[in-house]
Amino acid sequence: MATMNMIQAINSAHHNAMETNEDIVVFGEDVGYFGGVFRCTEGLQNRFGKQRVFDSPISECGIIGTAVGMAAYGLRPVVEIQFADYCYPGYDQLVSEAARLRHRSAGDFTAPLTVRMPTGGGIFGGQTHSQSPEALLTHVCGLKTVIPSNPYDAKGLLLAAIEDDDPVVFLEPKRIYNGPFEGYHDRPLTPWSKHPDGEVPETHYTIPLGKAKISRAGKDVTILAYGNMVHVALEAVKVSGIDAEVIDLRTLLPLDIDTIVASVEKTGRCIIVHEATLTSGYGAELSAQVQENCFYSLETPIQRITGWDAPYPHSQEWDYFPGPARVARALVRAMEA
């Protein structure tokens, strides 16, 4: 067991996967010699050679499109989109091709590829280095969407994604690459080395896709969160003193609705937290499913605490960000109403 931050955990997953499976190739903008702008692919080219790890032209369309072709050939490409905000030029290849290939060819061709994308804000990245496009992915049948909240999960989920026979988008909340972020931008970040989930085996393991994790058991309110918002939610529980259950979804599609329903049936109250803009965000789907499944258990309205419906602002980042105080107030309301 070693101590790893999320970058190292992701890097370690690549190493384990590539050692055992020669069909895994890794490419993307700056991922080769340099090892990626966030350094997730550092050392891979040196270890596995330029034929398996290389820089790509700056074309998200080309990255995902060639990956689909490679996957159809029989490889397992693991590609990086430098920021999730830049997935749109490759969105057609993801939605119309990767996600549809197995179905439209009745299983004749498949596209087992993994598309990694750093997601979310909190790094003063302005509107085009901060977005959280998960709702644009979860609406696409044929895709799976995964988002870890810590190094241990990041490695296990990434290995599961790579080994999965369907196309998987793997979102990496960049704000927590180096440490869990409770939402206080003005306090020093605790590194992952001080967090139990920073303990990561160097050897291969997987965490099954489609299984949520209860990050904190509680009986009064259920909080649904993922990625960096898991830590914000946990902090909000502390701040509010309310005994909430925090569910880390880990996989957004397919969703582990059973774990959610069991919790909400117990608590009768539910809050959904995400950083993406509110309208038609993934919180809407979560809200709809909780309502459909737990209607008769709900004591108070389900609340969505999210980024506002505005482009992610640069200087007003912390006005936009759904921090622990906002979530804590929502917890209080959930108990009051």
Partner: protein, 417 residues
């Protein structure tokens, strides 16, 4: 300097409905004119080859020049048969569409030489990434290799019947046959181009010997994937043939809406540093030779080739289209490069390997074979007479395994929700 006031250039074809056809914009050099470069020739050698039209058969059906392929009469006769069969298939299936037995159909009439000759050149294990206008690839593959989808399978797909290997999921003509080296056709234009480059990159990465070949229409070269494909091909040098089928039309838009008259689609390739040929697509021998050259080049690790096929879309865009709305009636008859079947027939007759009688017999035979097959296929149902697919079939293959949320949707259906 005197200023011209600004204005937008909006290109128009030379002729519109009511006008006499005019193909003066197509410069046709004599057959046999062009050099055949080495497989590893520098890109600068392709400036002219990407601007003119490489032709082998002259107007009398005699082969000319360096690009003459070494090909037996038997091979040519096989090619002729496959072209005639493809045309018979197209005609019959369009009729079936007109009879309301399916929703949609698209023909490749006039463009048969391109897919047939290239299918003959490539090998089992190679992979085509086609558009909807390369049915000839599958028909030829069945004829010469007997692998993958048969003509019967194609018909069943078009009919969406119980024999449809795609389970009624895809629009007619969106075939898919891995065994035939025929990649699943997408409705979204252009995407297959980038995928083919990726597939070829994979072959290179695995030190394999397989090559890829992909097709795109003149109009669709404007799509983003065309550029992504050429950029990646330019950089990584994968073993891929990048075919551009310039059939002069993109639905109602003429090729001048995709490129300007000072260049050609093949010349684009040269700009990317990729060897590029511009070839008479209605000349079976030229298609065979250029395809063979590009395939050899790819297989020998010299990298990609772009080939613009100069041809003409003789029929409407699809069963939904009426070309008399936007181009002169019978424009196809004035196409200066003729018809690929006629031209190969003339050549074979000139070689003394074929006769008009044999040809008539062939056409009759193919018509009957297709007719018989289509009757068989219709026994398995048609779109007006849908097979009883269980509703849950829709959920198969969305993912490898049906995930819980789709299971729940199946249950909702079963509960009668």
């Amino acid at each position: 300097m005197k200023k011209t006031p600004l204005s937008l250039r909006v290109p128009e074809p030379l002729t519109r409905p009511g006008d006499a056809p005019d193909f003066s914009y197509v410069q046709i050099p004599p057959a046999g004119n062009d050099k055949k470069p080495a497989h590893n020739a520098p890109v600068s050698e392709f400036n002219d080859l990407s601007k003119g039209i490489i032709r082998v058969l002259d107007d009398a059906g005699h082969p000319q020049g360096e690009w003459q392929p070494t090909v037996s009469a038997d091979t040519l006769i096989t090619g002729l048969k496959a072209m005639v069969k493809t045309r018979a298939y197209d005609d019959r299936m369009m009729l079936i569409q007109r009879q309301g037995k399916t929703s949609f159909f698209m023909k490749s009439t006039g463009e048969e030489a391109i897919s047939v000759a290239q299918a003959m050149v490539l090998k089992q294990g190679d992979m085509f990434f086609p558009t909807y206008r390369q049915a000839g690839l599958l028909i030829t593959n069945e004829m010469i290799r007997g692998t993958g989808w048969s003509t019967f399978d194609m018909m069943c797909q078009v009919l969406s019947n119980s024999g449809d290997k795609l389970k009624g999921r895809q629009l007619p003509i969106m075939y898919s046959s891995k065994d035939a080296g025929f990649f699943s056709i997408s409705g979204n234009l252009g995407t297959q181009y980038t995928q083919a480059v990726g597939w070829a990159m994979a072959s290179a990465i695995k030190k394999d010997s397989k090559i890829a070949s992909t097709f795109i229409g003149d109009g669709s070269t404007a799509e983003s994937d065309f550029h992504a494909a050429l950029t990646f091909a330019s950089v990584y040098n994968p073993p891929v043939i990048l075919n551009v089928t310039n059939n002069q039309w993109a639905i109602s838009s003429f090729q001048g809406i995709a490129n300007n008259p000072e260049t050609t689609f093949a010349a684009r390739g040269v700009g990317y540093g990729i060897p590029s040929l511009r070839v008479d697509g209605n000349d079976f021998l030229a298609v065979y030779a250029a395809s063979e050259w590009a395939a050899d080049r790819a297989r020998n690790n010299f990298g990609p080739t772009i080939i613009e096929w100069v041809t003409y879309r003789s029929s409407g865009h699809s069963s939904s289209d009426d070309p008399s709305k936007y181009r002169p009636k019978d424009e196809e008859k004035a196409w200066p490069l003729g018809d690929p079947i006629d031209r190969l027939r003339e050549h074979l007759i000139y070689l003394g390997e074929w006769s008009q009688e044999q040809h008539d017999a062939l056409e009759k035979e193919m018509k009957e074979e297709i007719m018989a097959l289509s009757k068989e296929a219709q026994k398995l149902g048609s779109l007006t007479d849908l097979p009883d697919l269980p509703m849950k079939c829709m959920f198969d293959d969305v993912y490898k395994d049906i995930p819980p949320h789709l299971q729940k949707q199946i249950q909702r259906i079963e509960r009668g929700e």
